[in-house]
Symmetry: C2
Amino acid sequence: MSSEELAARGQTTAAQVRKDLSHFGSFGKRGLGYPVDELRARLRRILGIDRTWNVGLVGAGRIGLALFEYPAFRARGFDCVAIFDSDPEKIGRELGGVVVQDPSAFEEAVRALGIELIVLAVPAEAAQEMAQRGVDAGVRGILNFAPIRLNVPPRVPVEDVNLVMELEALSFQISKDEPDA
Amino acid sequence: MSSEELAARGQTTAAQVRKDLSHFGSFGKRGLGYPVDELRARLRRILGIDRTWNVGLVGAGRIGLALFEYPAFRARGFDCVAIFDSDPEKIGRELGGVVVQDPSAFEEAVRALGIELIVLAVPAEAAQEMAQRGVDAGVRGILNFAPIRLNVPPRVPVEDVNLVMELEALSFQISKDEPDA
DNA sequence: TCGCGCTTGTGAAAAGATTCACGAATGTAG
DNA sequence: CTACATTCGTGAATCTTTTCACAAGCGCGA
Ligand SMILES: NC(=O)c1ccc[n+]([C@@H]2O[C@H](COP(=O)([O-])OP(=O)(O)OC[C@H]3O[C@@H](n4cnc5c(N)ncnc54)[C@H](O)[C@@H]3O)[C@@H](O)[C@H]2O)c1
Ligand SMILES: NC(=O)c1ccc[n+]([C@@H]2O[C@H](COP(=O)([O-])OP(=O)(O)OC[C@H]3O[C@@H](n4cnc5c(N)ncnc54)[C@H](O)[C@@H]3O)[C@@H](O)[C@H]2O)c1
């Protein structure tokens, strides 16, 4: 497949595709394009998704459960192996083979199960504490839904999901074309 | 408040704050900094969040309901005034004052209620169709959770939320420091 | 084997974003 | 009223990203 076709599929340009790929190596064959299967395999390796990641879910509330039940994560190699929630009502309940645990078991479970990524879906007040405890226990990356800026060492990447801001981005794009209301 | 202090809070630099703001006008006073209340008011206006937006939720599944019950949206001016789902089990149920409707009522409701934004939380197969129907009915922006690229006219902004990619971004950042596994 | 049609990989150019640095305002204190 | 300590707004300089454009490589068919 040529960079031209990859670009069309990825909503970008052929030059961009080639430059981006060339940053990681030389994948294509001149006159022929890129061998799709091999390219995918090498990109999976570069992205670090050529393996399974053990994920811990912190907070079994509305968003946490929606995520846990979303099959696409496991299908893409992100395996939620533990759930933690402070609500006594929820502790002990089983969800798809995983039992909700008390947060006091967090550090132990991170180490025992080899959890490298956590999804933080707890109220903002609890997020910083759980992030810190996770990092101390060996967590290497955090997907954060709480609307606060987490303070963690720079070696631990954090991806923030802020859906209110996504809506605000829409409202800005819509409003900016209107001189005045 | 000075650009220095704004920068510290926003994880950026003073020069960046000043350049960004200057792009929209001249808000500060030399020697003094920016008047916070007025700055906030003017930024809200620029972002288009100085008013309420009527939002329609398409798909009352796991993620859709989690979003609907999330109070931060209404608190920030995004008011979910209608819910649509094709599941007969769900149609007619009331959730926080809003009744789940059959998708056949979609266009009518968009017009009647003045829905300008929709949240697409339906399976990927249904997303394009509902996007198109929304746009035809007058929807002006789409927050899309379905893992497909929507085809809509350029005047309608789309914000995609792809949580698998967020996790992949973490795995990449973690893996890239390791020469080899 | 040679020529031809494609397509990559990559320097160079262009465009875009960030940082620097300083003149011009602004309030304050004496 | 003047001197001074601040801090904005903004051109110029720097850094980054994207786009351009083309030599070099590849397979194919004659
Ligand atoms: N619901 C949404 O659509 C949505 C969207 C974006 C962001 N968020 C954010 O995600 C977070 C969770 O939102 P939610 O709507 O799922 O809230 P929720 O109240 O439904 O769930 C939070 C869960 O966290 C648990 N919890 C509290 N403290 C805990 C701790 N220390 N350890 C483990 N569990 C703990 C609670 O028992 C509860 O079950 C919040 O920060 C919210 O701002 C939610
Ligand atoms: N659950 C998650 O954590 C998650 C995360 C990211 C993205 N997504 C995406 O969000 C979408 C919804 O995911 P989900 O987990 O909530 O799925 P879900 O199956 O729980 O919910 C989907 C809902 O949409 C309804 N529906 C189907 N066709 C419809 C139509 N034409 N009009 C109106 N409603 C219709 C179904 O009846 C169902 O209630 C999917 O595209 C999924 O890939 C989900």
